[in-house]
């Protein structure tokens, strides 16, 4: 049922397993709401244009760039940010493989890799390359990031 929404609205979000009620403007992006309303600063503002992937989060197991998504669009959905992973194998693999330098892009890359491995537990190299092309690392850690994904795929323990 369609409903008219006032300037500020309260929407239900399930973020990292916790039910939250958030008062937002319908024009607010998910990235802005996560950072400014919920204090979850893991998703990073980069280009704010859907290019760099630093703001990537998962919504119902699908990875999205939260700078090009309205928070109101995900009302009632399950949102997972880097804060919700809590020592996932891909996080440990990033450390083991030195898959970051400055670290700014890392949360976005990890969320993308987490979604990749959740949806394709045994991805081909071409699939890995296609997915990782969604994120940009200015420190150019791409080979190490690929190695981190491959190590989780092979079940290597950090």
């Amino acid at each position: 049922m369609a409903q008219s929404l006032p300037q500020k609205i309260t929407v239900p979000l399930e973020v990292n397993g916790e039910a939250r009620q958030v008062e937002i403007r319908p024009a607010d992006t998910l990235l802005y709401v996560l950072r400014s309303h919920l204090g979850l600063t893991g998703a990073k503002p980069g280009c704010l244009n859907g290019d760099c992937g630093a703001c990537s989060v998962m919504v119902n197991d699908t990875v999205y760039k939260s700078c090009i998504m309205l928070a109101v669009e995900v009302a009632g959905s399950k949102v997972t940010t880097i804060e919700g992973l809590k020592d996932a194998p891909i996080q440990e693999a990033f450390i083991k493989n030195f898959a970051f330098q400055c670290g700014y892009c890392t949360p976005g890359f990890i969320m993308n890799c987490q979604a990749l491995l959740k949806n394709h537990p045994h991805p081909t190299y071409e699939v890995i390359k296609e997915w990782l092309a969604s994120n940009i690392c200015r420190c150019t850690c791409y080979e190490e990031i690929e190695a981190a994904v491959m190590s989780v795929m092979k079940g290597e323990r950090p």
Partner: protein
Amino acid sequence: MLSADIEYYRPETIQEAVDLFQILKGENKRPIYYSGGTEILTLGRLELAAAGAFIDIKAIKECLSFGFNQSYLIAGAALSLTSIEEKNLFPLLSATSMGIADHTARNKITLGGNLCGKIFYREAVLPFLLCDSWVVAAGGNGVKPIPIGQIFNQTFQLEEGQFIVQLLTERNYIHLPFVSIKRRQQWETGYPLITVASIKADNGLRFAFSGLCPFPFRSKEMEAELNNIGLPVPERVKRALAQIPGPVLHDVEGSSEYRLFVLENTLNEIILELEGE
């Protein structure tokens, strides 16, 4: 984030969406239909596009259809490009849309959003132009299927308040031999120089182009030259280049001369591949 306030609506039926548009327009709220929204949000952030109310069509079940009926493949306008690739019911559409943006962005970009975007590439329209698909549009005059050749001329010529619900493509086009080539000046990601899609139909090869002119197109005049089998392939291609229906783009992705050079080689390659079958 958009600096201007908007109202957001998520209708569940086509009629509800159409009615909402009329009501909001009557209230001077500058409504627009919203699907993936990636372009609306990026242009809105830069204040290059303005709307006061978003009518999100992603809860309308017809806009999410993806499957065959007896005669047609039905593709809903609110399907994400990755869902189209993953189900792969229309291999030419999968191959063409896989080159758009990047994988994560394509989780959000929808078929209808790409078709109706302001960006001049809009590659997702190429398969539908090649297959003479039908566009199901909804508006104040009801829901009606329209041949794509009637409603698409550089852009979709939708009436105010009308939106694309679905695209219908005859089953017999779905598995024809095809080629879809996206050429970039360098690297494997980023905006393309040109995209050329082609199918081998009963009456010859069909071609559609994106990134060549400031709009995607299919040209019957170019096809006539490219199918002139009495001439050698390089001559057919040269004659077709003389029929390009608009100015050739000259921008940061490549000069117009370079685009023509790449196009000439690409067309030669496609003809040899499809006529060799």
